[in-house]
């Protein structure tokens, strides 16, 4: 077996996108120049330290030089690699190049994973190019190897997260202006990530993580952060897959399944923390925070869901399960507005109820603020979302713009929060202090405020609004579920029907 065959067989097993991206990377002059420059700067830094540093003579130059080299490494890997990956993807996305991949056997998830894997391999290349210099800093004293490797490991994960974030931003559709804004936004995020990572890494290194490596105080937060980074990378990945998937595909199924996974995984993390930390007030607050975060996540899913399709194409319908018991979960997980809204509401309700009953199980009374804030804030957001959907269905039925329901919800939100207050201001001739709290009744954030006298009215209002709009939308939900039916066409039927059809014959 010749080398070419062995190599070919190995690369056959790798994602074709990753192979292509790596080939592009090694043939890119820009990347080669950056790598050379990267090595040169590190070499100069080491030489400068060796020749001029006083700390070197004191056998304590290690941490300083390590941080300098780490800054160069992170500067390259956190700014250059995500930017180049995103620019390349955005450029392919703007042409029909990405569309062409959809008529191959590759799936959108292969495309997105391939991009990530290629960028991660490139990052590993830069990290490995840096390792000889990093090892040298160990010889400068003042550093221990475990600290170095742990810091490098954590920073590597941050770089991977940044790359995935950049890929997601680049996967968003839009014109030149939208892409420009996204690029600037992404760049700002990367610069912020660079700053924070350097600061945290420095704090960890100079704080002496080496001494705490055998304690839960280090590993607990560290493992939680690692788990959160992995979960976030996964979320960004499924979002980017949904963004590049063709309109006719079941775009949201991955996002919804992953959201459920994320929700369960976050519960597991909380359960682990509950088992290791002593019982007390802090424990309840963790549970409340989890419920609130899960609720916010579900709320985001709710607003994305109202923008989704209200009828399923033939390609999706052929995959709908025939079994009615499987069809119900499929309805919640498949792309589609009604299923998404229901799933979001279910997650919101479950997050609140789990939080509520876990606190009771701990022998405590659930906090008033928790009981008040979470469900009623959810009622407000559900009401706004469903009202926007209703308006879209009645007045803009033919408009196909994806983000229209969110735009309507935003307009409603602005109108609901600002207009009553402005009206009150005008009616009271500019006397803000004399304005009744009732003018704030449409503001969904009112539950977060300390307007204790106003809570009952707001609860009543949001509850009634949510109930009424849900009742109005109920026939739509039923109709959506009824129309969620699989196709019943077999190959034999295809052949029979095509024979009967009258075709305009091109053939002579």
């Amino acid at each position: 077996m010749d080398k070419r065959t062995i190599g070919g067989r190995i690369t056959d097993m790798i994602n074709p996108i990753a192979v292509k991206e790596m080939r592009q990377a090694v043939k890119s002059r820009l990347i080669i120049w950056v790598l050379m420059l990267f090595l040169l700067i590190q070499l100069v830094v080491i030489i400068v330290v060796l020749v001029f540093s006083k700390e070197f003579d004191d056998f304590n130059a290690g941490p300083g030089v390590f941080m300098t080299i780490l800054s160069i490494l992170l500067g390259t890997c956190l700014l250059f690699i995500p930017a180049i990956t995103a620019l390349r993807l955005a450029s392919e996305r703007s042409d029909s190049n990405l569309d062409l991949l959809f008529i191959t056997t590759l799936r959108p998830r292969h495309i997105m994973w391939g991009k990530l894997v290629a960028a991660v391999i490139l990052t590993l290349l830069f990290f490995s190019a840096c390792l000889p210099f990093m090892t040298l800093t160990y010889l400068f004293r003042g550093l221990d190897l475990p600290s170095m490797f742990i810091l490098l490991g954590l920073d590597f994960l941050v770089v991977v997260l940044s790359i995935q974030g950049s890929i997601m931003l680049a996967a968003c559709p839009g014109g030149l202006i939208a892409r420009g804004i996204r690029f600037l936004f992404g760049l700002a995020l990367l610069v912020a990530a660079f700053g924070y990572t350097i600061a945290i890494s420095g704090a960890m290194l100079f704080g002496g993580i080496g001494s705490s490596l055998t304690t839960w105080n280090f590993w607990g937060p560290a493992l939680t952060i690692v788990a959160c980074i992995f979960l976030l990378i996964g979320l960004l990945n499924v979002l980017s897959v949904a963004l590049v998937s063709p309109p006719s595909s079941n775009k949201m199924i991955g996002v919804r399944i992953y959201t459920l996974f994320l929700w369960i995984a976050s519960m597991v993390i909380i359960a682990v923390w509950m088992s290791v930390i002593p019982r007390g007030r802090f424990l309840e607050e963790i549970i409340y925070s989890w419920s609130a975060c899960a609720g916010i996540g579900a709320c985001i899913l709710l607003f994305i869901s109202i923008c989704e399709r209200q009828e399923w194409g033939l390609r999706i319908r052929r995959t709908i399960p025939q079994n009615i018991f499987l069809r119900l979960p499929a309805f919640l997980l498949y792309t589609g507005a009604a299923g998404g809204v229901l799933l979001s509401v279910l997650i919101m309700a479950a997050s609140f109820l789990i939080g509520f009953f876990v606190v009771i199980a701990l022998g405590k009374d659930p906090d008033d603020e928790f009981v008040r804030m979470l469900p009623y804030s959810a009622f407000y957001f559900i009401s706004y979302a469903l009202t926007a959907l209703l308006i879209k269905r009645i007045f803009f039925k033919r408009v196909t713009f994806f983000g229209l329901p969110i735009a309507i919800a935003l307009v409603l939100l602005i109108a609901g929060t600002a207009f009553p207050v402005i009206a009150a201001f005008l009616l009271k001739k500019g006397a803000w202090y004399d304005t009744s709290e009732l003018w704030l009744i449409c503001n969904p954030f009112v539950m977060l405020a300390e307007y204790r006298t106003f809570w009952h009215e707001a609860m009543l209002f949001s509850g009634i609004w949510c109930a009424v709009i849900s009742l109005i939308m109920l026939p739509w939900f039923v109709k959506q579920f009824r129309s969620f039916k699989p196709l019943k066409i077999t190959k034999t039927e295809i052949e029979d029907t095509t024979d009967e059809r009258e075709l305009s014959k091109v053939s002579a």
């Binding site: 191959t104 033939l314 390609r315």
Partner: protein, 308 residues
């Protein structure tokens, strides 16, 4: 390979991009897909290529539904869009190798397939060049090679000749003819109707998403009560012209270069009588050519050339 487009509809909101069109074509045929801008050509082609789904109707490639079984259909169809490949830092060979991998073609076979395609599309000489450095004609050949990489039975070409210089057009035409001889079913959309007429044996004409005509060029040519014949003789050009004007079956005649274009009241029978008469009268006829209505004429006659 037999391609059946059956009652295809595609609506974007109120706009009916494709409105209940049906036609079919088979291997060895080159079909010109003709229509004004916004007629629904690209939409139909994208549905054939599984890039989009119809609102109703279906397309069958050898009885494989592109809606029901897009994964199977993708292996049967090669699509060449109107835009050219723009990947950075990638050579022609790597680009084709990548698409071969994307179609799941394994190591040893992949090298042979890519090399074979490069040879067929005359890309061997530029296989190590970067895509960015290629001319439009070369990129078009790369795009065609990409569409052929998995040896599809159906080839869908959206405006393949747009922006190409005459030499590149001729090269593309020759490649398409060779592909047709390899029993591939080819459908091409183009605005350059004279180009299409030279390579297509059939045409489908659509306007505002509706099918106007479909069939072989002979079939879709509107029937006429008279025909036009171009007659070239040795000498006596003016005599021939005058003679034609005096002949009762001739409606009109005019001198075109070294020939006389004659419009005859009747069909082939009357044409044969006229030529026989001229030979008997001592005219030395070198050429008598039936002037058929070109694709452009047909297109102008059956469409109003309006946009949606």
């Amino acid at each position: 390979m037999h391609v059946q487009v059956v009652n295809l509809k595609k609506h974007f909101g109120r706009t009916k991009a494709v409105d209940d069109i049906s036609f079919d074509f088979s291997d060895g045929q080159i079909v010109g897909f003709v229509g004004p801008n916004g007629a629904g050509k690209t939409t139909t082609m994208q549905i054939i290529s599984t890039l989009d789904t119809p609102t109703a109707g279906d397309i069958y490639l050898n009885n494989v539904s592109v809606v029901q079984y897009p994964e199977k259909a993708r292996r049967l169809v090669g699509f060449m869009p109107d835009s050219l490949p723009t990947h950075r830092d990638i050579t022609v060979d790597d680009y084709l190798d990548f698409f071969a991998r994307a179609f799941g073609i394994r190591c040893n076979r992949r090298h042979k397939v890519v090399e074979g395609i490069e040879e067929f599309t005359n890309l061997l000489g530029i296989r190590d060049k970067f895509l960015k450095t290629l001319s439009k004609g070369m990129k078009q050949r790369v795009s065609l090679a990409r569409a052929l990489i998995h040896d599809p039975g159906v080839l869908v070409l959206d405006e393949p000749a747009s922006g190409l210089d005459p030499r590149a057009r001729i090269e593309l035409r020759e490649l398409l003819k060779a592909l047709s001889e390899q029993n591939k079913a080819i459908i091409i959309s183009s605005h350059i109707l004279s180009e299409l007429a030279e390579i297509c044996d059939s045409a489908v004409i659509i306007e505002r998403g509706k099918l106007l005509k479909a069939g072989t060029l002979d079939e879709i040519t509107p029937s006429q009560a008279h025909c036009t014949v171009l007659i070239r003789t040795i000498g006596k050009l003016k005599d021939l012209y005058k003679k034609m004007l005096q002949t009762p079956t001739v409606i009109d005649a005019r001198i075109v270069g070294t020939s006389v274009e004659v419009e005859i009241d009747g069909s082939e029978e009357e044409t044969a009588d006229l030529i026989e008469m001229l030979v008997n009268d001592g005219y030395r006829i070198v050429e008598a050519k039936h002037v058929r209505a070109g694709l452009e004429d047909i297109f102008m006659q059956v469409t109003k050339g309006e946009l949606n």
